[in-house]
């Protein structure tokens, strides 16, 4: 045995196999692979429309080693509730139900159904892989597209407003009643796995927000996926934090935070931004982090 082996904290077990149909450099299969490693084989997944409906393979090919149920776009929460109910009826209450949907399928069209599942107290894990636009249909703006970003429906860039431009979905769901929520990033897989395991250990509706770059939609070099993802967190664009027991907590403290420009300049979708606009985006991020810090501090009191 290699003497370094014990240092690995990521499980060896593979439940997602090569042969899936994601684009080169896509963040989503990385997220799905780590998620399944953390959850293990007693897992049932369900997915709506989106890249997630394509990536696991075209019938009869299938790249996952767990059952996957496909459904319409707006009903990930509802389908999860149904699967959970039937598993409980059949005495399979040890099985983890994972509703896995994109940002558009979550913060826009799927919001009602997700809210219903949280309200029902469905014991499941909802994972939103956030590539910040409707990428499967070719980069249309979603409620999770950041300010300033070019998409095919925001050719001049999404209007820079106060706030980050992204719906604060985790906070919305905290108010809705989730028992656990966390942001995770494919560039930090050990943290991702820890968050998934924490979520699995708690009964009730849980939510994970996964940062997942889309090289084709973000107009970036597919070999830079991890670098871009890492910068999103290290610039404060996508801070990593969790919510549990009434408290928010940073799960990754960023020291020596980098300017957002380093993140933006690697992506063609932000190429049109002027130095003034970049400064505005920087301001929004600073403000967003301050808001989050205030929530974290409020919980500590």
């Amino acid at each position: 045995m290699d003497e370094r082996t014990p240092r690995f904290t990521i499980p060896h077990e593979e439940l997602m196999y090569p042969g899936h149909s994601a684009c080169p450099g896509c963040g989503e299969p990385i997220a799905m692979r780590f998620l399944l490693k953390a959850l293990g084989p007693r897992t049932v997944m369900n997915v709506p429309a989106g890249c997630c409906a394509v990536i696991p393979g075209v019938w009869p090919r299938f790249s996952l080693k767990v059952p996957l149920i496909d459904h319409a776009f707006e009903c990930t929460g509802a389908t999860s509730s149904g699967i959970r109910a039937a598993l409980d009826v059949k005495g399979m209450d040890d099985v983890t139900v994972v509703g896995w949907a994109g940002d558009g399928g979550t913060v826009d069209i799927g919001l009602q159904s997700l809210s219903g599942a949280v309200d029902r107290g469905t014991d499941f894990l909802y994972v939103m892989y956030d590539n910040e636009a409707y990428m499967n249909t070719g980069s249309q703006c979603s409620g999770s597209t950041p300010c300033g970003a070019w998409t095919t429906t925001t050719p001049g860039g999404k209007a820079i407003a106060r706030r980050t431009g992204k719906k604060r979905i985790l906070e919305m769901l905290v108010e809705n009643g989730i028992v656990y929520g966390a942001t995770v990033n494919i560039a930090f897989p050990e943290d991702l796995i820890e968050r998934v395991r924490t979520a699995r250990s708690i009964r009730g509706p849980k939510f994970l927000h996964v940062f997942s770059p889309c090289p084709s939609g973000w107009r970036m070099d597919p070999s830079k996926t991890i670098e871009v993802a890492s910068l999103a967190t290290r610039t404060g664009m996508f801070p990593l934090y969790e919510y549990r027991d009434g408290q928010y907590r940073f799960t990754k403290e960023i020291k020596n935070r980098k300017p957002v420009e380093e993140y933006l300049r690697l992506q063609g979708r932000f190429r049109h931004l002027s130095p003034e606009q970049i400064a505005e985006v920087q301001e929004l991020i600073d403000q967003g982090l301050e808001d989050l810090r205030a929530r974290v501090e409020a919980g500590r009191k």
């Binding site: 075209v58 019938w59 996957l68 319409a72 109910a85 039937a86 009826v89 099985v95």
Partner: protein, 390 residues
Amino acid sequence: MIDALTANQAAALAAKLARIEVAAVYPITPQTTISEKLADMVASGGMDARFMLMESEHSAMSALIGASYVGARTFTATSSHGLALMHEVLMWASGVRRPIVMPVAARTIGGPWNIWGEHMDVITERDVGWMQFYCENNQEVLDTILMAYRVAEDPSVMLPAMVVVDGFILTHTVDAVDVPEQGLVDDYLPPFRPDPVLNLDDPRRFGLVMPDWWTEFRYRIATDMEGAKERIREADREFGRIFGRRYGGLVEHYRTEDADAVLVVAGSAAGTAKEVADRLRDEGLMVGVARLRVFRPFPSEEIAELSSKRVVGVFDRSYTFGDGGAMYNEVRSALHGSDNIVKNYVGGLGGRDVTAAHMEWVFRNMLDIADKGLDRRVEWVGLRDGSGRW
């Protein structure tokens, strides 16, 4: 045991007798009392099922599709706008072969608002791959739900079914209903054991089908829907053997054998039609009723048996804007090549009663055009058009 029940109460009892395992509900008039009765039975411990409150009909159907994959027998009920909201996932349910059974309290669809009965909501969903059973009375609602599960879950069918219950006329009207014993129902309806079913040791997906196989998947649904006709006839025969009641399979022929004029009609209005037909028979008028129990799959063979009749009338409780009623057009199509007169009668819309007087007018009009020839293709029965006709 004979009990006094509304059709909605009978429907909820049928769900209990069918030993459903997962129910997902959302309120809409005039369906809501089905959900309420289920809630009562589950809460009181009289019924062992997971009962889920959903935030929309779309979500109710989506939840059942998920539950059915896991192998649970599933149930919901809806009406009107709720059914329309489900449209997308109705197609999903049939496309992935989930044998969900759902009573629909048939009601019109707005706007403007109208909560009352007609068949527009269910007719609008005729092409979504669901079987459609239309009930004449409360007893038939209970019995048909049991039959629908048996047919839907047959391995050769595996398609969902809606059981149409005329809004208010049946849903909210009390009638005597013979509630069968659980043991007999268990004999009639075996437990739901789908194959394949969700299995963690043999993980599968039924997800994304490309053009190379899509046609074959659709062809299987088409042929299995066609095959469901024989399963429905069998289910009706077997029901008669166990419970002593039969409904005629897909079409109930009532005094049609020697009739000159036959009215094809679905749902509760058929009761009125039969009553009036009896009265006119006493006068020596040769009329009969072919009650359309099943609209999907369409009973083209049974309808073709009417090809020797001089006049076939079709009473539609809905209207497909553009060209007559849906039932009329399909009946006419099944009779293509015969030389009888086929006429469409549209009525009973948005809660307007279909009275005995209306039915008598329809029968007399049919006999009239048997001699004089077709006066008009589509007759709106009871229309306040200022003509003094009604």
